[in-house]
Subunit: 780 residues, 2 copies
Amino acid sequence: MKHIILLLTGILCFSSCKKNIKDSAIQAPISKTIQKPDFTQYVNPFIGTSKMGHTYPGATAPFGMVQLSPQTNFEVMFNKDGSYNKETYEYCAGYQYRDTTIIGFSHTNLSGTGHSDLGDFLVMPTTGDLILDPIKTKENTKGFYSTFSHKEESASPGYYKVKLKDYNIIAELTATERVGFHQYTFPKTKDAHILLDLVYNVYHHDDKNVWTFLRVENDSLVTGYRQTKGWARTKKVFFAMQFSKPFKSYGHQKYDSVKYDGFYRRFKQEENFPEMAGKDIRAYFNFETQANEKINIKFALSSVSTAGALKNLEAELPAWDFEKTKLETQQKWNDELSKIEIKTITEADKTTFYTALYHTMLSPILYEDVDGSYLGLDQNIHTSKDFTNYSVFSLWDTYRALHPLFNITQPSRNNDMIKSMLAHQEQSVHHMLPIWSHYANENWCMIGYHATSVIADAIAKEVGDFDKKKALAASVSTANVSYFDGLGDYIKYHYVPEDKSHSSVSKTLELAYNDWCIAQIAKSNSDKKTTDIFLNRSEYYNNVYDPKIGYMRPKLANGEFRKDFDPLDTHGQGFIEGNAWNYGLYVPHQLEKMVKMMGGNERFSQHLDSLFTMKLEDKYIEKHEDITRDGIIGNYVHGNEPGHHIPYLYNWTGKPHKTQERVRMIMNTMYGPTVDGLCGNDDAGQMSAWYIFSSLGFYPVTPGSPNYAIGSPLVKEAVLHLENGKKLTIIAKNQSKDNIYVHQILVNGKAINDITISHKDIINGGEIIFEMNNIPKINP
Amino acid sequence: MKHIILLLTGILCFSSCKKNIKDSAIQAPISKTIQKPDFTQYVNPFIGTSKMGHTYPGATAPFGMVQLSPQTNFEVMFNKDGSYNKETYEYCAGYQYRDTTIIGFSHTNLSGTGHSDLGDFLVMPTTGDLILDPIKTKENTKGFYSTFSHKEESASPGYYKVKLKDYNIIAELTATERVGFHQYTFPKTKDAHILLDLVYNVYHHDDKNVWTFLRVENDSLVTGYRQTKGWARTKKVFFAMQFSKPFKSYGHQKYDSVKYDGFYRRFKQEENFPEMAGKDIRAYFNFETQANEKINIKFALSSVSTAGALKNLEAELPAWDFEKTKLETQQKWNDELSKIEIKTITEADKTTFYTALYHTMLSPILYEDVDGSYLGLDQNIHTSKDFTNYSVFSLWDTYRALHPLFNITQPSRNNDMIKSMLAHQEQSVHHMLPIWSHYANENWCMIGYHATSVIADAIAKEVGDFDKKKALAASVSTANVSYFDGLGDYIKYHYVPEDKSHSSVSKTLELAYNDWCIAQIAKSNSDKKTTDIFLNRSEYYNNVYDPKIGYMRPKLANGEFRKDFDPLDTHGQGFIEGNAWNYGLYVPHQLEKMVKMMGGNERFSQHLDSLFTMKLEDKYIEKHEDITRDGIIGNYVHGNEPGHHIPYLYNWTGKPHKTQERVRMIMNTMYGPTVDGLCGNDDAGQMSAWYIFSSLGFYPVTPGSPNYAIGSPLVKEAVLHLENGKKLTIIAKNQSKDNIYVHQILVNGKAINDITISHKDIINGGEIIFEMNNIPKINP
């Protein structure tokens, strides 16, 4: 252990002094209540936990590495015949509000994603007979899960509490950035147990475990790691688990078949033997408790090593004061939430708004130890020298509004995130920027290379001090990996041929937009040659537009459009998670040209009208889990991302009042203050970021440009406290439920006659006044 | 990559400057031939590759981390019905001389062990159709193995060569400490392939793979790692593989069932896709070659990371000069071998002797990167601050003669090995010294805690500068782990009760001896209290001696000896890999007392006479794979360790001439210059170390004491060049095949009248003369 500490000290000294100071600031004393005003009161972490929101109600710090959250209704994972139950899609974040049982509390959870992973290190306190099977024992009696009631459950930012009825245990959770903090209040019993289940995974049926390793270092400290082959193909998470009270005994059961001769012959290794390893293990720790006795657990994570986890634990949570930690984390949340102070038409809108804002800060996640070391994409240990490393970049979703929002609310973090993307590119054997960066893995989810959009947007908005030259080189490298998902053919044919690669139209459209982003990055580097190359590529969207039918349409390698084609179908029609009606409107960088190409203002706005009002047949909906009735208005899909810019497109048809109608309608019908308040996956915060922008009255239709499309604010007033020290006040005059139309916009007293406002109007502070009315303002 | 390099530089600066200098010395220019005299000519690496020697003929540097060796006759692993073929026990080192096929060349191999593991990273060059199945393809045609002939095969220290007949390829191998160096001479072909098989393991049937990971970094560099769950339960080996010529294409096949959605949908990942991961993978690299074109591969290992492997590669093998590397490694071997210059009765004896000496330097192995970092037992990365870290400690075997030999031939390395053991103890969650230290794992093989013997022996012989206080604390800690293999009961009952723990007599005897060693360590620390405690424990052997029958005998917890008992049986009689006749003579620390207890000189020497002359029934032999007819004289088992001291015990019965007869007989019958020249497993060098000592005329019957028992030298003369700069000349006057009896010993001219000589007589240099005769010298 000593050697490691010396080693880490060595690293600290030459690379991370800044970090040390930053991290030690965590220990600063704070008062015993949250500083007023308290915005955490408006956050309801249960929003999105019903239906397909895929959010979790557990405890986490802003952008924290630990997401400590209850896992419900484990039994749903399997049908009675042992087969996979497709309902498990609902369990991407481990929790469904309708459930009545909790199987334990896991330390890693994804927020709002459309695919599942994580659920690492399930901890469950129990009493009575020791039961190590979660659902049913071999004797067909009840497993270790407990029933619970929402009446005895509560959650707020950084805090979760529930009564485990079967054991009469109160479970409370809080967390610092890297450490989960458990507090279990036990009844009086000689048979109290705390289980550490290393078998459990979100989507357990996938048999994700590769290897687990545990050491009981002493009577109250356990270390180890788990390696899984889930969505992140080669994922390792290390931990250090410290109990506030020594356990009186411990043991484990191994569920895989391999016997280790040495261990097998020489030891009774299942009980009080301090070393456990294998594929599937459940460990237990036994206690005797007095009535209302509290046992606390600090559970630190690391991507590097158990020594790293211990360092994180010692740096972030040296004390055992649960209330203090809870308050500190709540204060961190309040500091973040108070960056936007709003007045709303209804109190409920505040809940929707601040919960959405909360949801924009659950990912990307911090992905480094307190000394800046982290596991890189190349599976080597790296040290972040002049940045903080982040992971979980669901970029196909989040480039649209979440990262643009960060350019207002989190510019420093967005700068770090871009630096993390550049480090990822350096570590990538493909020399590619992240597509979906996932715990030192690339999971390749969805299409395009939208890290380029995040970079271009930051450059357009003058955010960050990342190396623009390096960013350009990384983008160009990414855009030339010929084996990547149709890209070689895209470069060769100037579109992705449908007979060469599925989802060919979506790919062509997104690559063209990404190439426009790269052109912007090149332009900011004064690299004319590269700018021209990528501006040229950014026009390739034209090549998949069929003017004869007026839709984007899959084209074959021979230059002909594919004959079979249903523009309403989301399957096998050249689009991914969308149809031609929706996804075919995806030319965010040349909106005017697109409108013109598609028949001009009138025809395009009629298309939009039809899109929002047509009745879509069931056959087009039920097939895809990302598109459900809950998230659909006509044929417009708000519950998934490819159409998020669409409501704002009326602006480009001379009918901004229709944008204003639609965005207000979407805010009121697709979002709400209840557990089912999200109409689809929150998608790592993208859905919520859409709401934040739209509530404030504008939206980044073209990330990579400094302009926002104007919508219709939902707030009556918003004060944005910007990182640069400036303050922007947004006032919606005459705001009401019916006054959804914008008649006039005054930026610092000056009227705007455009359909957009610029980032400078936001970031320089001052005042933006929207004059609202219940009558549309029809342009002449 | 840059970050890692910075990181490693940081480590270097504060902890390993010494190492850097040491390692850079590897690059020093040397002449194009080995400095004379050339002792490597007497080494035949094929000795022990037939029958049960379990040695390998491949290329390695002295104590090197890489053991690059051919793997033969893979098909023997399975019977036709798919079941495990017990003949695989012969394949602990991957090679059997009688075989006619080679499946490839692996980078890690154990030398002489009685259990198998390793075989990491099998490389095989082929031509013609690409075949990825080793034995048979799905179409039932031949796999990628090749036939070979011993006529076209040769091996010498640090070098191996063979013609792969099926492909007309000459394969040559050499190695530095951490890098294997391949040279393949191809015929002219458009279809040359180099396979990298990550599925292969020694004892493949165990399904040892946990995870493998590969990256094609560029057109001639591949990195990755493999994690296995073999004898080392949680073993990871990282590699960097550099080709001298860019491959024109590459690919892989995965043999496990898990499909990764992201990869599966977006890429044709099997060909020219630079990232591979999964449980079981075989990769291939394609070339076009001219006639006699050489392709070289440098294959570096690391326990730390692929970055570490690359660092090792760059530090140790920057150039591509195969001949130069081969010569440098041969020179290293010659430097080691020339530490003992001998004259012998026959030339063949030189081969036997120098091959044995060679076999004493194949393990323990170096187990750290060039910067001193290594994977610790706690699975964290450590840095060896004032020592070089070693692994592969087969201590139940090697404490007997190998580590004592190191105190003469390798005192610096033995000091490092002891420091490695102390580091192991610090990292052990059991706070125990190694039992069998195995690639950052404890495999718990065999009984006792013999690291204490290695420590005590070094202290008795004043070897090393390790911390004696720490060594005592580590030993005492080890000796008090109550759950360890009968130890708690041993402490409680003052013997291990047979009804509590198997092999109870062997355990009692060995623990008692180990406790005597701890007493010696305590004494050297002037810790009287601890000395007394462990001297007291060292007498516990008395408690398993049954004076009624005159044998050590299993005793029950109730204090009664077990009724059923067969002192000739090696199974279930309270002994492990031995019977009461052999193993029952194991009180090395109190030989006089033991002889007295067992009836005195006459009776004891009669027992020894019977032991060496009785005819053992077959039923006692065939059951155990470590005890075969080849290694047996009467009922004495030389092919396994517990009796290695026995031939020397006549000295304690007043009949040293009988020792002289037996050790000469054993040297002549149990060792030889042929491929079947080892009568049993070489056991990581222990069998060979017995031969070296005995050849020189003395043997460490009691490691932990400074004394050696006198035998009968086989050499005519030996000059030992000691690390302290001194020189010891041993002369056997009148030496001949018949003159096996020692009549007089003169140490620097002074006659010895004892049955032992002391370590000082050796290490201070000078001259020892044995006066040999063909008539026994019977003491009056």
